[in-house]
Symmetry: C2
Subunit: 410 residues, 2 copies
């Protein structure tokens, strides 16, 4: 079936600058379909450190298992990603496929196997024909270039309707560094196909333990704060590679204030990519920002925000442009976090609908309805018990989601 | 909007026999709409005990708060239920509305206010005009009859497309008792309207503490094992009333083997009503039974079953008659309970698709697809770690759900 493009699809892919120490190439390997890019290889210069966060799923895929083993070493020389087949629930054969893929990259790059990071995204429960991948590695290696971002972002797509990239510059103690990243999404796990993958690359010089801390913190504020359908992928992977090509003051601590601008830039890229994933969510017609205040802790606020953002009743109301705040009350109530019903306040588009657990006297629905007819919907919820806060992003739940997921595979 | 009837709508309401000690009447009180039954009153003879379970929501409604206060007393003389307005998020005025309603019933019945149980279902966040209810109590009292079940089941409906009733007979130590019950559902919380309500009445003679234990256990096997959309209502209420009109051996312990037949009958009614709620789920076209085995505990098995039953990707695949077992693997993985990916087995319609974490050799999809084209879909999942098991019921996720919830209120 032909998927209509997201209304948020940008006119063009952003201009991602080269990151010193990173070279990339992509090709059509025919993993599942022919005539589309489905394999990318990134090669990093020696000295590259890596941080990452991966799915918590207990049925995680074979590549995630491989990366979990590799990550504590903190070094990286290559990243290989295929779309078309997620290599999930494929048992021992799936694990062998990952080993063979890493081995082919090892030969081309001349590096340790565990310096090769592997991701697969696509159908679950079908054996990956890894020879289609290994046969192309040498050719990809020869084609590496430092500006091939858009092809790479395209090669990792499944039901995504546009490639996703983001870039920022930052100073570390006065020395400029660049960060560029790509991501794919669609459903949190999309149609049978898919998963959420994101890769950010920078020429900053950061020890792996520092990079790991920064990656985890930034992922919490970005990819862990979005939801399309509440379905957690078996393959979710966020990796940040730092090539160490820039000679700035040595950094030994993730809390070093010299990193402030870098952290701001990393957060900005991760949030930008995460928001692009939501905006290209299956069937998405509206982009929703949910801001929670007054929770017991920031973590509680995020869980409340995700309960609202995952509620099918809230999401269908947004699709219907209906300022149905009663459903928001319901979703807060089911989150399992402390909330004081008699102190709660809810605003949509900046207009308070309820305060102190009751509808606001003389509430006029007209400006709220007008706000909901736009592409961007903003919801503020104060749950009245503490100082915890969080922002969560989601999309609406539309007929498009049913169309895509009720008929995709057949 | 006109809601199409569920394909599971029965030809007629079941024949519910009178329960000695219970009289019921219903009327059109115009709570929100006119020309439809929206208020029911049940009156119980003196000596009636009660057990109940209510929503865990932190934004629960005013009537739930009232019933929580009343329930520890264990006695009941009346039940009053309105549809059209849920009296949720209505602050102090909402609590006063409950008090006034109970007070009006108290006068008619001549009983303690806390012997009156109150439920409201319908719109959230609008003030209940309780005078429309209190004005009709005396008239309802005069109209009480012992066989008015179908009207009562109709009066408590919101977006339900048919009234739901169930009845069983049982022997307690050789003495026959009868159990009759009614329920309403639609969404777990339906459109803005709604909630899940169920009431069972019996002439058995049971102390309140015994009845409470039996009610909790039975609710766990029935109403706590169903899901339409994973959205927990602010008003969910299950109450079981025992009028004590039948003189059987005194029962002092919920584990008394003399209760075996009664427990079987109570479970059967609760499961029957719970399944009717699912079958009338918003937009439901298919009824799905998910059987989990091999979990660490029965509770873990239920959580895994509900993760599968709540997954939008699983539910849309079922709507599309697609035997997309990869999505089932994903949903098991996100449940947060122990599962051994390499020992998991999945069957649909009795046909094994995957065993030991891999697709079954020579798996033929044809009989599975044929099974999925029927109204009833059966999924068996063994997660390979222990002896815990549970059965969960759900429906598919269709365009009908989006239609109902994306446009209901406007």
């Amino acid at each position: 079936m032909d998927l209509p493009s997201s209304p948020f699809k940008p006119d063009r892919f952003p201009n991602l600058p080269a990151v010193p120490g990173v070279r990339i190439a992509s090709c059509d390997a025919g993993v599942r379909y022919n005539g589309r890019l489905d394999l990318m290889l990134a090669v990093f210069d020696e000295g590259t450190s890596v941080g990452g966060v991966m799915t918590q799923s207990t049925t995680a895929d074979a590549p995630v298992g491989w990366n979990r083993t590799a990550l504590p070493r903190g070094t990286a020389r290559a990243l290989v990603v295929n779309s078309g087949n997620a290599n999930v629930f494929t048992g021992k054969r799936g694990r062998v496929a990952v080993e063979k893929t890493a081995s082919a990259v090892t030969e081309a790059v001349t590096c340790d196997a565990l310096d090769v990071y592997v991701s697969s995204t696509g159908t679950i429960g079908e054996y990956l024909l890894e020879e289609r991948i290994t046969a192309r590695i040498s050719e990809l290696y020869d084609a590496l270039s430092d500006a091939a971002w858009e092809d790479a972002a395209t090669a990792i797509m499944t039901t995504d309707t546009y490639p996703k990239g983001s870039t920022r510059k930052a100073l570390i103690d006065g020395v400029p560094v660049v960060l560029s990243g790509i991501a794919k999404g669609s459903g949190m796990i999309a149609p049978d196909m898919a998963t959420m993958l994101a890769y950010v690359m920078t020429d900053a010089t950061l020890p792996a333990n520092v990079l790991q801390t920064l990656t985890s913190r930034s992922a919490d504020k970005s990819f862990n704060a979005i939801t399309v359908d509440g379905d957690t992928s078996t393959s979710d992977t966020v990796l940040v590679f730092a090539t160490g090509k820039t000679a700035h003051t040595p950094i030994e601590n993730a809390d070093d204030p010299k990193l402030d601008a870098f952290v701001t830039a990393l957060d900005a890229i991760m949030i930008d990519l995460a928001q692009q994933v939501v905006k290209d969510g299956e069937g998405a017609q509206k982009f929703v920002e949910i801001r929670i205040t007054g929770a017991e802790t920031d973590a509680a606020a995020r869980r409340i925000g995700l309960a609202v953002g995952n509620s099918p009743l809230v999401k269908t109301a947004i699709a219907g442009e209906d300022a149905n705040w009663g459903r928001i009350v319901m979703a807060v109530g089911k989150a399992g976090e402390a909330a004081d019903r008699d102190k709660m306040a809810i605003a949509i588009g900046g207009v308070h609908i309820a305060k102190n657990g009751e509808p606001v006297d003389g509430y006029d629905e007209a400006p709220v309805t007008a706000h909901m007819q736009g592409r961007d919907v903003e919801i503020d919820i104060d749950v009245g018990v503490g100082k915890g806060q969080a922002t969560v992003w989601t999309c609406d739940l539309t007929h498009g989601y049913i169309d895509i997921n009720g008929s995709y595979r057949t």
